[in-house]
Symmetry: C2
Subunit: 379 residues, 2 copies
């Protein structure tokens, strides 16, 4: 049965191996498993030795995985299961990045949350592990705003921005999703054990790695593709030029998701990667939750941004009235003639303007002399 | 003679008046002056009362201007003069902003600099008067980098970003250009008298206002169009949502100049306007002088930005070698079999990979066991 065949594949092949992605486009999981175990080369495909070697240990590996999954209360979901997020199949059509691509053959889940439902309206908030207090505050606020608006925050439960994003959503009592680079039964990083436990209590902890799988460097890069694919958009809060979160941004970009970055001081190493991504056109600038929600809502809402620069009463005044204001003062009262000559308008123009400004309560009259009224601070 | 007619026009009509721009498209300066003095309506054009009223005082105004110009050592330049910057005529084809447009009829200059030559390769650096120390440092550094690369910095000599931009260029012993909203003989703001004096000593102080002209609010807005038109690009360093420097950015945008903005903390009021401009697509993000020079150099140099994210030795390793590195440790020495099983590669794949990594000096061998070498910190 396919779920079991996919489970076998997850044990036989390092998740994200592009060679498996290619095979799955033309073969059933069962055929591939059978071929690996029988050391058969499938038509038009190589049969990597490492797969065959793992095949020799498949039974032992399957027992170990089952035992760990049982102990940690993990469930195995695959395409066809109600909880499977359809969006993941987008990964089957993306070129490899750092040697990984393709939808996961299946996912191990831990926690009460329904992955399919929670990820339907979700946003990834990722960034530097060694973030600054600025990055920590921004990611927490961003997550809280998104959660408050009904968007599920997805991140990697790492130190720094990831952790702050999960915690920011918790402030709104909203569930989050953590996608791990190690087995879903492990707490990595260790000091985040309580955080990851909390994520499972209200949301869901996800991994394509087998239970007990170690968090190898390459697995963080392939993990990032799952975060990007599960969400409708990715926000990078702080990222140095070499940050792995830029890899998540690249995945989101290749997947046609919304890519966003939060700016910071140009003097901060931790914002250099975010700025570079924006300069390269790989991410749009967002200043907070409001901007992120506008981007996720799509171009429609963008129009609002275009016109979001405030227009004051001053801008709405006719030119002659604005010029006349220039000739007036808070302290010194002036006559129409004095004003006219100082701003180079005709006395008649000034009189008409003062009449208008008076009706708007912007000027005060004392006999033949005029001053600015307190309301006139419209600049 | 036209220079004198243009001087008369500068006294008769508030600089930047769109009605004069329209008249000059179809009439000679001399015709317009004559018409104003004779109270003649010119075909297809109104004859504003304020112009006529000023006509009555023209001789007195001309004498006053001449006296002030002589005292301050100002020179009057107009189209046709060698020093006149051709780029200003672009303003004759731009719609009014805040009731001003059109090329200046002439400019009053103070200082040793040659306006035409200095403005050929120039960039405007503008921003908040009440800038933060962050904005002050960034504008000074930006100006120093641009000046060092042979670009003339043009600004408004105001408090905050403007002043820091002029001073930053002076650090490189480079001349700058200040465009004032008041007469070129005045020091505004007063506490910048020494700075403006220095600008005149090495560069040039510019104004389209008559000598002695007061810095009225409306004149800052029309002054900004001259800064934008003189330069090939405008950078906004810090700007609140209502900052006048965004008006300069709009002028640069309408003139088809390069428009740039420097990001800052999203928590800073003084960066909100710059961020809004970038979100609205009115400015590209720049993180410093290097970016500004790349933008001014045009799309060609942009390609370099696209690929400016560093690629480490790690990225250039074949996948099997990268995976093998994951299985190695600084402290614990491991055998080929241990490595192979931990990273799920075949022993043969691991041997081949170790061979390559050894040649690159990334791994160390002790008997049958391998560790990472110090050089291997390639993440």
């Amino acid at each position: 049965m396919t779920r079991q065949d996919r489970l076998a594949l997850s044990l036989l092949v390092e998740p994200g191996d592009p060679r498996l992605r290619d095979l799955l486009l033309t073969h059933e999981p069962s055929e591939i498993v059978a071929a690996i175990l029988r050391r058969h080369r499938l038509p038009g495909a190589e049969m990597p030795e490492s797969w065959v070697e793992r095949g020799l240990r498949l039974d032992r590996a399957a027992e170990a995985a089952a035992a760990r999954a049982k102990a940690a209360g993990l469930r195995w979901v695959t395409p066809g299961d109600k909880e499977w997020p359809a969006a993941l199949s987008d990964l089957d059509h993306v070129e490899p990045l750092h040697g990984a691509t393709g939808a996961p053959v299946g996912l191990w889940l831990r926690g009460v949350g329904h992955l399919g439902d929670l990820s339907k309206r979700s946003v990834a908030i990722v960034g530097a592990r060694d973030c600054t207090t600025y990055g920590a505050e921004c990611s927490s606020d961003l997550a809280a705003d998104c959660a408050d608006a009904g968007w599920t925050v997805i991140s990697g439960a790492a130190f720094g921005v990831d952790g702050c994003a999960h915690r920011g959503a918790f402030l709104m009592n909203a569930p989050t999703i953590a996608v791990l680079a190690c087995g879903a039964d492990l707490d990595y990083p260790k000091p985040h054990g309580a955080l990851i436990g909390r994520i499972a209590e209200v949301g869901v902890v996800v991994s394509e790695q087998s239970p007990g799988g170690r968090p190898l460097k390459g697995r963080f890069l392939s993990r990032n593709r799952v975060i990007a694919a599960l969400t409708q958009g990715t926000v990078v809060v702080e990222a140095a030029l070499r940050s792995g979160s830029l890899n998540t941004l690249n995945w989101a970009d290749q997947l046609g998701r919304t890519t966003m970055a939060l700016p910071g001081p140009v003097t901060s190493r931790q914002s250099a990667g975010a700025h570079a991504a924006m300069r390269a056109g790989k991410a749009v600038l967002v200043t907070g939750g409001r901007d992120v929600l506008a981007e996720l809502a799509g171009p429609g809402a963008e129009a609002d941004e275009q016109t979001s620069q405030p227009v004051t009463e001053f801008d709405r005044l006719p030119p002659a009235a604005r010029t006349t204001l220039d000739g007036l003062d808070w302290a010194t009262a002036r006559t129409v003639t004095q004003i006219a000559s100082s701003v180079r308008l005709s006395t008649r123009e000034v009189r008409a303007a003062l009449d208008l400004l008076d009706r708007r309560g912007l000027v005060s009259r004392a006999g033949a002399e005029w001053t600015l009224s307190r309301r006139a601070d419209v600049g």
